[in-house]
Amino acid sequence: MMLAAAAAFAVIMAKINEIVGPRRETDEKVTTYESGMEPVRTARERFSVKYYMVAVLFILFDIEIVFLYPWAVSFRQLGLHGFVVMFVFMFVLLVGFVYVWRKGALEWD
């Protein structure tokens, strides 16, 4: 009951503000907020597929590193076994990296 009343009050106040409040859309107001910088031109343009390649590879290798955190936290308990296993994991990741590198996916030109 209280929750419903609170929600209704919030909605009603927002609506009143919207209906009663004055509206003046100046250039400054409708422009994209860029932390105080002036937007130079539209952001919706096509850019080179090379950015995409780098971005995708970044996502992959970046996310795989997440496995290192739990391992690092419990490193002492896991001991040598954990160490070896993590190196196997890093080796597999390294093979992937070598593949990407030799295929030329990291070359910009």
Binding site: V49, Y52, L60, D62, I63, V66, F67, P70
Partner: protein, 100 residues
Amino acid sequence: MVTLTSYLILSAAMFIIGATGVLVRRNAIIVFMSIELMLNSVNLTLVAFSAFLGDSTGQALVFFVMTVAAAEAAVGLAIVIALFRRKQTVNLDEINILKW
């Protein structure tokens, strides 16, 4: 007091929003984002169970889900790019040589 049920209801709601998004949206990228929302709602469920059961398996599974989702995102976006280069569209209604 936040109970397990609140988390489960929130994640179920997120899952349903994601599933609805997949079914009603026609832009391939937005459909894909809805799928990611579904996966993340599952992550929330897993973390909630993990915390309330006092068992860490759920959190381990969350790590796997995150990495798998990243791999899937890479492959999925690559497929969308390949398609866009051929057809100049990501609208699923226009991708229709093969009848559904």
